[in-house]
């Protein structure tokens, strides 16, 4: 039985979800109708936000693996 996730872990998870959601919404808008401004915004924000989301989620996964003494 693993311990419930800490508040920090939940916060990181929520942040990761929000960042991924924003990246996907930007991508959706770009796929729907491209403008030069939207493309520039997406190229700066989209992959960067997704990367941050993946790092935050990875942080949680690593934390849990350490807690279970897998790592």
């Amino acid at each position: 039985m693993s311990a419930p996730p800490t508040e920090h872990a939940i916060f990181r998870l929520r942040l990761a979800a929000i960042f991924a959601l924003v990246a996907v919404v930007l991508a959706f808008t770009l796929l729907l109708k491209e403008t030069a401004y939207l493309f520039t915004t997406f190229m700066f924000l989209g992959p960067a936000l997704l990367l941050v989301a993946i790092v935050l989620l990875g942080w949680n996964i690593l934390g849990e693996l350490r807690e279970k003494k897998v790592l």
């Binding site: 419930p4 998870l13 929520r14 979800a17 770009l30 796929l31 491209e34 030069a36 993946i54």
Partner: protein, 240 residues
């Protein structure tokens, strides 16, 4: 049941793509028998469907985690919703964005370029750009084809220049009338025309070294490249 789902998925993807007006029959030519769309249309359609799916999944997971906490099932779904699906969607959007940013419409997005695009699309214009456009010497992405360097880093440098163009358009700090930043390289013309029979027949061999070295310009005889000042109205012309 599975085949029904597959048909429904294919219809959703194609509907999403066709709703964007990417029409292969722009010129009244019917699509070939068995036409199922271009790679670009499929990329766009799949991207749109996956993006909607991911948004729904993230919102559903958010609700599920709030109610029941983190379970083994929700954890694996979170990985899919935050890593796998967004990575695919962002990749497809990047590919579409890169491709769409090469179109004439993308270049014409900036107000300062409207007269250039109007001249390009003007069927009565005799500027070099208009002649290339109306005769379909270049089928797609006409601005990009002539104004990007070739080779591995041509696209990258064109995109970086485009970033500068967006900045100048926002800041409004470009000189008018706008001018090309560096002299136009003949190599861009020669990469298409260089080996063509009508080029070889009409140009002396002795001309080539000077053309290659940009000592003479193709535009000396074949210019002007654009006549933005002659473009009657900035609205988009009939030849699209």
């Amino acid at each position: 049941m599975k085949s029904r789902f597959a048909v429904a998925a294919a219809v959703a993807v194609l509907t999403a793509a066709s709703a964007l007006g990417a029409d292969p029959s722009d010129f009244g030519v019917p699509p070939p028998h068995g036409w199922i769309g271009t790679t670009g249309e499929w990329i766009r359609g799949v991207g749109l469907v996956l993006a909607v799916l991911d948004v729904v999944l993230i919102l559903a997971l958010w609700r599920m985690v709030r109610r029941r906490g983190l379970t083994a099932a929700s954890k694996s779904m979170i990985f899919g919703a935050i890593v796998v699906l967004p990575a695919i969607v962002v990749f497809l959007a990047t590919a579409t964005g890169m491709s769409e940013s090469m179109t004439v419409d993308a270049c014409g997005d900036c107000h300062v370029m409207e007269s250039h695009v109007a001249d390009l699309r003007n069927p009565t214009s005799d500027s070099l750009a208009a002649v290339h456009y109306k005769n379909r010497y270049i089928q797609n992405d006409q601005c990009y084809t002539c104004h990007s360097d070739y080779g591995m880093f041509g696209t990258v440098s064109a995109k970086l220049e485009g970033l500068g163009h967006v900045y100048h358009n926002i800041a409004g700090n470009y000189p008018q009338p706008i001018k090309i930043r560096a002299p136009y390289s003949n190599l861009r013309c020669l990469s298409c025309h260089g080996g063509a029979q009508n080029f070889v027949a009409k140009h002396e061999k002795e001309m080539l070294p000077n053309l290659m070295a940009n000592k003479d310009s193709c535009l000396d005889c074949h210019g002007p490249a654009h006549k933005p000042e002659a473009a009657a109205a900035p609205e988009k012309q009939a030849l699209r």
